[in-house]
């Protein structure tokens, strides 16, 4: 295979040399002759006669023959006819070069062969190359050695910068990764005639040969979007890229949304769901888009969107992530041991970069699914700026209702937090009488990017997402029942969401110094209004509106500013440093009857800090020591987080790596599982006493072995966690088990349980990266244990503890079809179960029965597994430009009843348990169009 490639390369170089020698190409010349010969010879002849450059695979073309008589026909028509006759493709470059292809995807192979043939429109295929005239393909004499090279990687079609693209000098272990604005800096480049390989998931890899002239300039490498027929993996672990990836970085998964549509889905292409297919990220939590990374909980995962923290990451009880795929350019998940640049979370970081907007041509698109409508548009505003917007809104289609009802049916029977909620079941019964349920979610993204010159980029990003779950109903009390009450309605409204925006300024001061500064605002809100509203006319004839019930409100505001700097000190070292300041204030109120607040908290915190990190290469060894310091004003303490990661390249294929570090967390999310008794979750600030500052140590060890086609990787981790907080809000009604009257007294008791924990595991992955069949299998052996004094003196399995997890992701591409099948197996999660019950007489009247619990999370649910599949068909216009896709997705094909949780009730003195299951078989249809 290698020899063929070399042969091809040689052959094509010959062709190119020939072409460059004679730059006059004329495909409008008339052909007037009888041709009968194998196609390769025909092309040779045309090339020689009309000075047209052809690139093709000789062995393939030799098998096709041409036998026709042409009368005064233009060369280009002749080529077109021949291709049409044989069902093959051609692509004409602006410089006149013709690529003759058996399959459209061959372009990449041929292009790689003809490494230096660049530029232009791929004729009807509209695949374009970077416009750069190659002077000569012959080997050049290097003029400089061991220098550093700066450049930028962009998307050729839209002009978007590509963050986290991977750059490598061929034949060496010298690599670089682009930053958020697509800039990179290669160090220790051996010579200015070296060849640079650039790869980025979802794009065709690019090969750039330096020459002394180009190496002096700032290099802009623009990548071509992978045409769909190209066989490629969708998710591209940093260590398992399409062609080359940065195996030197530890525990990072990168994802490009462009090909997400090929993965099976439950209604939406979902970036956070896609991560759940990778080892180390739990794939068995259907009700959470949030990432359970390596035994961590979703709130231990920092989610950044264009630099601002997003606190509400999902929609519709967690089934969908809050991020619109159409507005996302790149996502990176740091599974642990992450850089000193990030902080404030114990487990992981999800760094999402939004799209800047198309800088070249306006483009619009619409996605339709059984769940939502999604429209987006992006356009250049001037030659220096661009805008992007995307809007997604759910509608109450069958899929939405299925999920909504699933949650609502299961939760109406859930008794609320306290004894006073005994009447709640009755309410659930009432809910069945509801006349109208309206609920929806939406999210909106907008971004404006202004690039005044090649040194500065200014961008404004806005995100707003909201869920509105409305179970309200009008009681419609007939006047027969009450003369004084004019109207009465029950409001049961939950709204939550996140609004965030950031203004960012990036500047490349010199080739060696780059900065990225931003100010951001993020607001998380969660409101719960469960009340009855009555309009009452009293004896004097005055009408008053009375609101009774509970009003819960959590509002978090986060104002942040940060500045990240990157200084390439010398050929082998790079210094990252920066500062940050963040002010958060959290308001949490729990009110009853309009005015009386049961809980009225207002906490604020200011954290200030900075970090410094060195990235130093010693040949095969790369070390990255770092330090982060945070001053948290609530506790008045300084928190120092040392971080360290290193990699060692045993060979160019085999890599050893490790990472360790300390991590602190200052904000915690409280999750309440009994959804209907209050807002689903809310955020609290650590106060150093009842809610301690969380702290974790990570230890990661890994190795990867990567060939051109396959990647094998193993990573092991061990984490210790302290300062974990569990929160319980106990609500006490006035009835003590009685039906709660609207004006019954309620008290609330907040309990904070503190503890510690550890998590460890080992992740294996084998991936096939290229070919018609691609995919990976991943296996994780893990455990996560906690110890909370309130549950006893021993470690117990954390609720997210899953022992074995196996994932198999399979993708098969054939022309315009893509078939995908994923199978996930996870051993059951732990749960707490009653082993018995006891009944005691109350002091006054009645009895009460309690469950006896064996031990916290001592039981295991049955194993979770499911098979999903998707079929995607590309809609292609006649000129072979892809204009959209139709996708059929089948979730949980064999309709496995996976248990979500168990519900216990006492019927006739017996304890009855009911399994509440996750979604069964759910088909979905998605249509995606773009212009």
């Amino acid at each position: 295979m290698k020899s063929i490639l070399f042969l091809l390369l040689f052959f094509n170089l010959l062709l190119i040399r020939q072409a460059s020698a004679q730059n006059v190409q004329n495909d409008t010349a008339r052909v007037n002759k009888f041709i009968t010969a194998p196609l390769d010879q025909v092309l040779d002849e045309l090339s020689a006669t009309y000075q047209i450059k052809f690139v093709f695979d000789r062995s393939e073309m030799h098998l096709l023959s041409v036998s026709d008589h042409y009368f005064q026909e233009k060369v280009k028509d002749v080529i077109s006819q021949i291709c049409k006759f044989h069902g093959i493709y051609y692509a004409k470059q602006p410089d006149g070069t013709y690529f003759i292809l058996e399959k459209p995807e061959d372009i990449s192979r041929l292009r790689r062969g003809a490494a230096q043939s660049k530029s232009g429109e791929m004729g009807s295929m509209t695949i374009s190359y970077k416009e750069q005239q190659e002077k000569a393909a012959a080997p050049l004499k290097p003029t400089r050695k061991n220098f550093s090279l700066a450049g930028r990687v962009t998307d050729n079609a839209t002009g978007e910068s590509l963050p986290a693209a991977f750059i490598k000098i061929r034949g060496t272990t010298i690599t670089a990764v682009t930053n958020t604005d697509g800039y990179f800096n290669l160090q220790n480049v051996p010579s200015d005639t070296a060849t640079i390989l650039v790869s980025y998931a979802g794009f065709q890899p690019s090969v750039e040969r330096l020459n002394p002239e180009s190496a002096l300039q700032k290099l802009v490498i623009s990548l071509l979007p992978a045409d769909n027929a190209l066989n490629e993996v969708v998710i591209n672990g940093k260590k398992d890229g399409v062609m080359n990836t940065d195996t030197r970085r530890v525990s990072i998964i990168q994802l490009t949304p462009s090909k997400l549509s090929e993965l099976p889905n439950i209604g939406e292409r979902d970036i956070l769901r896609a991560f759940q297919l990778m080892p180390g990220v739990s794939g068995s939590n259907e009700s959470s888009s949030g990432a359970y990374v390596r035994g961590g909980t979703p709130d231990q995962n920092l989610v950044l969107f264009d630099g601002f923290t997003v606190y509400q990451v999902d929609h519709l009880y967690g089934f969908y992530s809050a991020f619109n795929v159409n507005a996302v350019k790149d996502v990176q998940l740091y599974k642990g041991g992450f850089s000193a640049k990030f902080g404030g979370r114990l487990s992981s970081v999800t760094d999402i970069s939004g799209k800047d907007g198309n800088k070249k041509t306006p483009s619009f698109g619409v996605d339709l699914s059984l769940l939502s409508v999604n429209i987006y548009g992006e356009t250049p505003v001037s030659d220096k700026s661009s805008v992007l917007f995307s809007l997604r809104r759910s509608y109450q289609g069958p899929l939405y209702n299925k999920i909504f009802n699933k949650l609502n049916n299961t939760t109406t029977t859930t008794t609320g937090g306290g004894g006073g909620m005994g009447g709640f079941g009755g309410r659930g019964g009432m809910a069945n009488n509801q006349t109208q349920v309206s609920s929806w979610f939406y999210d909106l993204n907008g971004k404006y990017t202004y690039t005044p010159d090649d040194k500065n980029i200014i961008s404004l990003s806005f995100y707003s997402g909201k869920d509105d779950l409305d179970n309200s109903r009008d009681l419609g009390i007939p006047s027969a029942i009450s003369s004084t009450v004019n109207s009465s309605s029950i409001t049961d409204l939950t709204t939550y969401g996140n609004v965030g925006s950031s203004a960012k300024w990036s500047r490349r001061w010199t080739n060696k110094l780059y900065s990225n500064s931003l100010v951001s605002y993020s607001n998380y809100f969660s409101n719960r209004d469960r009340s009855t509203s009555s309009s009452i006319t009293d004896t004097t004839g005055t009408t008053a509106t009375v609101n009774n019930g509970t009003f819960e409100n959590n509002n978090l505001k986060d104002y942040s500013a940060k500045s990240d700097w990157e200084w390439n000190i010398n050929n082998s070292g790079k210094l990252l440093f920066g500062g940050f300041a963040s002010a958060q204030d959290i308001k949490y109120t729990y009110a009853q009857n309009d005015t009386s607040f049961l809980i009225n908290q207002y906490n604020r915190a200011l954290s200030l800090g900075g970090y410094v990190e060195l990235e130093q290469n010693f040949g095969k060894l790369r070390v990255q020591p770092g330090m982060r310091l945070t001053h948290y004003d609530v506790t008045g303490k300084n928190y120092i987080e040392p971080r360290f990661s290193a990699s060692y390249a045993l060979t160019d294929k085999l890599m050893l790596k490790m990472a360790t570090g300390r991590f602190y967390q200052f904000t915690n999310r409280v999750i309440r599982e009994d959804i209907l008794s209050g807002s689903k979750d809310f955020w609290v600030l650590a106060n150093g006493s009842t809610i301690p500052v969380g702290s974790a140590f990570h230890y990661i060890l890994g190795t990867s072995y990567e060939t051109d086609k396959y990647l094998f990787s193993v990573e092991a981790y061990y984490k210790t966690l302290t300062g974990l907080t569990e929160y319980s809000l106990r609500q006490t009604g006035g009835g003590g088990g009685m039906m709660m009257g609207p004006d019954a007294t309620i008290t609330l008791e907040e309990n904070f349980y503190n503890g510690k924990g550890y998590a460890k595991g080992i992740e294996f992955m084998a991936q096939k990266k290229v070919g018609k069949y691609t995919g990976w299998i991943g296996y994780t052996l893990a455990e996560a244990f906690n110890k909370f004094e309130v549950y006893g003196t021993n470690y117990f399995p954390a609720s997210q503890d899953v022992r074995h997890e196996f994932k198999s992701i399979n993708m098969f591409h054939e022309g315009r079809w893509t078939l995908t099948a994923t199978w996930i197996y996870a051993s059951g999660r732990p749960y707490t179960a009653p082993v018995g019950s006891y009944t005691i007489d109350r002091a006054g009247a009645g009895t009460k029965t309690y469950f006896v619990i064996s031990g916290k999370n001592s039981e295991r649910l049955k194993a979770y597994h499911r098979l999903d599949a998707a079929i995607t068909y590309d809609l292609i216009k006649t000129n072979t430009k892809k204009i959209g896709t139709i996708g059929f997705s089948f979730f949980n094909i064999y309709n496995r009843s996976n248990t979500w949780y168990r519900e216990y009730s006492i019927q006739g003195n017996q304890v009855i348990s009911t399994d509440v299951n996750y979604l069964g078989f759910t088909p979905n249809l998605t249509l995606s169009l773009k212009w």
Partner: protein, 272 residues
């Protein structure tokens, strides 16, 4: 190239090492609560001490109460004097001395079950006072369709509670012949009513407070937090299931003292 041949071995060894590290994990053990006895005792000044001890019920047990535990040696102490209880009937232990529990003091219970010392302790709260009712009759309006019923006149029970103590309100049904108000929402056949009024000083009775017409004795009990905490527990989902709080060490249930203030006359609940 030699290194290349060696590398898979190195990787293999590495993986083995990692697996070994992983295998060296701790085993989880959980405390066994299933063997603990259930205690139920309410201490009132001037009353005999009665303590019920029973087994827990199995999950599919259809009995109302657990099997009584006989043959235990229960002792109760007020800090200076310790007395032994006698078993009146299976699982029901008595101290026939109405002077032992006084209106102040700390009382503790002690016995051994399954070789584990079971202990509990409680403090007698102060006697509540100032119990009043705004009306001595609760009139339940008549519901007939087509007519406009009279408005329900709320009745408020109030007491002195400047110290924000926990109270429960008990309405003891005094009738021999039960007279049901409405068969709607009537899943509970208990005639008497217990309300958890928590730390307030008044409680407004609603139409739904009572299930039966008739006379009720109104008792206000000042209770300890251990009782209120126990009342409040009712988690039912495997997400949030916890053992109910108890003040019994090595046991379940409740051992608590309380004092009552009783209204001199009965409250009448009648139809319009």
């Amino acid at each position: 190239m030699v290194t290349l041949y060696n590398t898979p071995k190195t990787v293999f060894r590495g993986i083995l090492l990692l697996l070994c590290l992983f295998a060296a994990c701790k085993k989880d053990t959980t405390e066994n609560t299933s063997i603990l006895p259930v205690v139920e005792a309410y201490l009132l000044p001037g009353k005999n001490v009665e303590v019920k001890i029973s087994l827990q019920k199995g999950l599919v047990d259809t009995n109302a109460y657990g099997v009584p535990i006989s043959g235990l040696a229960l002792r109760i102490s007020d800090g200076t004097v310790t007395k032994t209880l006698t078993e009146a009937k299976a699982g029901q232990y008595l101290l026939k001395d109405s002077t032992f529990i006084k209106s102040t003091g700390v009382y503790s219970l002690q016995f051994t079950y399954n070789d584990l010392p079971v202990t509990a302790s409680t403090t007698m709260p102060d006697k509540p006072s100032g119990l009043t009712v705004s009306k001595d009759t609760v009139i339940i309006p008549k519901f007939t369709f087509g007519t406009t019923p009279t408005a329900f006149i709320p009745v408020t029970v109030a007491w002195t509670n400047s110290g924000s103590y926990n109270h429960i309100l008990v309405f003891k049904y005094q009738e021999t012949w039960k007279s049901l108000i409405s068969d709607r929402f009537n899943r509970d056949t208990t005639t008497s009513v217990e309300l958890n009024t928590v730390q307030t000083s008044n409680y407004e009775l609603s139409m739904n407070t009572f299930k039966y017409y008739g006379r009720y004795k109104v008792i206000l009990m000042r209770v300890n937090t251990e009782y209120v905490e126990m009342l409040n527990n009712s988690s039912t989902s495997s997400h949030n299931l916890t053992n109910a709080p108890t003040n019994v060490k090595n046991g379940l249930g409740i051992f608590t003292a309380m004092q009552a203030d009783t209204l001199k006359y009965n409250l009448l609940v009648k139809a319009e």
